[in-house]
């Protein structure tokens, strides 16, 4: 097993839980502008429950860890981000081959593909996909170019943030925000914002190789 073992992925998940808790009010505020004002609360509830589940039953391996996070998100979040993030972690869990950076990049890609399939969103629909797809592309390209994983994840996190910002001027075409039509333009998408936090958490916690 290379560096990306159960402990490393656990640190990533815990950092994400910390980040959504820190940004809880900001995420809910974004969602109150163009949605149903529950994204920060929901993500905080889901990720806090995921960490509690990991503490209660330490997972046997990295795939089990990701599956525990998936099932908790699916069950506890309540909103659409539950099935979406749940599917992300579930597909990652199923695709995680070994602890190599290439395997992580492939599993991350599988997770993002799962989100796209579940939400049926495309680029520029103004959703989390606008952060996650560029992140997956940047991660794959950097790992294939031989970069260390931490540098590749930095590139992925930057691509996610750029993707999030690129759709702020657009009109939402999916989710609750799409009910608002033109009024959704000019607002940061809350799902894209929480997705950037996910990739940022990976960039700040996962090891270089």
């Amino acid at each position: 097993m290379a560096a990306l073992d159960t402990d490393a992925l656990g640190t990533w998940v815990r950092e994400y839980a910390r980040a959504v808790t820190e940004h809880r009010e900001e995420l809910t505020e974004l969602d109150s502008a163009i949605g149903d004002a529950d994204h920060g609360t929901n993500m905080h509830r889901g990720m806090t429950a995921a960490v509690a589940a990991l503490d209660a039953t330490p997972p046997a391996d990295a795939a089990a860890l990701l599956k525990t996070v998936a099932m908790t998100m699916i069950s506890k979040v309540g909103g659409t981000s539950g099935p979406l993030y749940g599917t992300f972690f579930l597909r990652m869990s199923g695709a995680l081959d070994d602890g190599s950076p290439a395997a992580f990049a492939a599993a991350f890609r599988a997770g993002v593909d799962g989100v796209v399939a579940r939400g049926k969103a495309e680029l520029e629909d103004k959703t989390m996909v606008d952060a996650l797809l560029p992140a997956a592309d940047a991660l794959t390209a950097a790992v294939e170019a031989g970069q260390e994983l931490d540098a590749a994840l930095r590139a992925a996190a930057d691509a996610a943030a750029t993707g999030r910002d690129s759709v702020t001027p657009l009109v939402a075409r999916k989710g609750r925000a799409s009910y608002l039509g033109e009024r959704s333009a000019g607002h940061v998408d809350p799902g894209a914002a929480s997705a950037v936090l996910l990739v940022e958490a990976a960039a700040t916690t996962l090891p270089g190789s």
């Binding site: 099932m71 699916i74 069950s75 506890k76 309540g78 909103g79 539950g82 099935p83 579940r118």
Partner: protein, 136 residues
């Protein structure tokens, strides 16, 4: 005679239970299985795919299950629930695009009459027809 089960997925438990009450009013003495998966476990608004898969399993007698849902995460939680089911159960489940209340009443009535799964699902989808015909 088939015994098709019905599952109601909603953000709100009171909404789901009231819809079931409305449908049950049409079904005196019927034992048709109508299961509810609604709300978060702390009593708030939301949906839970694990609860949906449990409800589907509870409603399934082997003749199939028709799932009705409200909007947004209810739809995605129902889809996610399918991934959590055994293959043989999943093959018997239909997720219906029918309007929740009207679809439920129509589906429950024909399910209580012993219709098969596809007939129950078709009746749910017809749920808006009486209202559309009346309003023109």
């Amino acid at each position: 005679m088939a015994a098709v089960g019905i599952v109601v997925v909603s953000h709100s438990r009171p909404l789901a239970e009231a819809a079931v009450e409305l449908a049950r009013q049409m079904l005196p003495n019927s034992t048709v299985a109508i299961e509810v998966a609604a709300g978060t476990d702390d009593g708030g608004l939301g949906t839970d795919a694990v609860a949906v898969s449990t409800a589907i399993t509870a409603a399934d007698t082997g003749d199939g299950v028709v799932v009705l849902m409200d909007l947004g995460s209810a739809v995605m939680s129902a889809e996610t629930a399918l991934e959590l089911l055994d293959d043989d159960v999943r093959a018997r489940v239909v997720l219906s695009a029918a309007p929740l209340v009207e679809g439920l009443v129509g589906a429950a009535v024909v399910a209580a009459g012993g219709a098969d799964r596809d007939r129950v699902a078709a009746e749910a989808l017809r749920g808006l027809a009486p209202k559309q015909a009346h309003l023109g």
